[in-house]
Amino acid sequence: MKKIENIINRIRINKGDNEISEFQKNMSLRDDIGFDSLDLAELTVLIEDEYNIDIFESGIVSTLEEIHERLLIDGGNN
């Protein structure tokens, strides 16, 4: 899931935040990673471009682990 972490860091860098070096799977996208709804929209779009899956289509995703689940459940395999 390095790809997802890279995408998250790209978004953070773009808005002037530091890169996160240690990701934990229970990290909250909003509280720990600091994403607001527009950042989350960007995240969805970049993930969809990579995996062809819209992670928000079937409900809110709030942690890193839930992204992983969504991608696996929906047929993604890294």
Binding site: L38, A41, E42, T44, V45, E48, D49
Partner: protein
């Protein structure tokens, strides 16, 4: 051609949409045009602008397939700079005759499809890091009542409210959204009006004239261009000065 823009325009087969399309192509912009019917004019544009005009035949009533059949199939590698929501139909009748199936068809084409297209275009802007522009074609009927147009006008009112709020929501990403509030133009849509009805409508304008499609098309282009970079969330009236 540094500032060549790539624009999605709906309803390009005739009327205002065709005028917008021609206007943008003449400026060397690239246009992806959508409508149900391929008119002689469309054929002409296709052969004159082989690379800069891409035509896709699509019925916006097929709202559930918009993503798959337009964005995945045709626009996967396209990076848009703008979207003109022009396609619409006018179901006009007095409200006591309201027919729900005609009304919901109109809402699908005039409101739901444009909302969904805006969603998809915005996602395309975000993916490509574009500060894109959205322009909706509204109508003076939102602001001045006309007999028989309450239901049609309400679809345009929905677009104006949507546009203002999208502008607020996406302003931080430098994405703009505006409406052109068009007056009565001589197109297919207004062709069922009698001469006396038309004269009455035109007399309710300062210029006493129909609204020129070219004037509307130029205003659309302005709102898509970098010249309007500080304009967002606005309704620009191009209507011969409705009074």
């Amino acid at each position: 051609m540094n500032n060549q823009k790539v624009i999605l325009v709906t309803g390009v087969s005739k009327g205002l949409g065709l005028a917008i399309c021609k206007n943008l192509l003449l400026s060397d912009w690239k246009v992806y045009g959508v409508s149900r019917s391929i008119t002689a004019e469309i054929e002409k544009l296709k052969s004159s602008y082989k690379t800069s005009f891409v035509y896709i035949q699509y019925d916006l009533l097929e709202i559930n397939d918009l993503k798959q059949d337009l964005f995945v199939k045709y626009f996967k590698n396209v990076s848009f700079d703008g979207f003109v929501n022009n396609a619409a139909l006018a179901y006009d009748d007095i409200v006591t005759n309201l027919d729900l199936s005609a009304l919901s068809k109109m809402y699908t084409v005039n409101v739901f499809a444009p909302f969904l297209l805006t969603k998809l275009v915005l996602r395309n802007f975000i993916l490509n890091k574009k500060s894109g522009a959205v322009v909706h074609i509204s109508s003076v009927s939102v602001h001045t009542g006309y007999k028989g147009l309450s239901m049609y006008a309400s679809t345009k009112g929905a677009l104006e409210a949507f546009s203002k709020n999208v502008a607020r929501e996406w302003g931080p990403k430098n994405i703009r959204s505006n409406c052109i509030v068009a007056g009565f133009m001589e197109t297919n849509m207004s062709s069922s009006l009698s001469l006396s009805q038309k004269t009455r409508i035109y007399n309710r304008t300062a210029l006493k004239l129909p609204t020129s499609k070219d004037s509307v098309a130029n205003s659309v282009k302005f709102l898509l261009s970098d010249s309007s970079s500080s304009i967002t969330g606005q309704n620009i009236f191009v209507d011969s000065g409705t009074i």
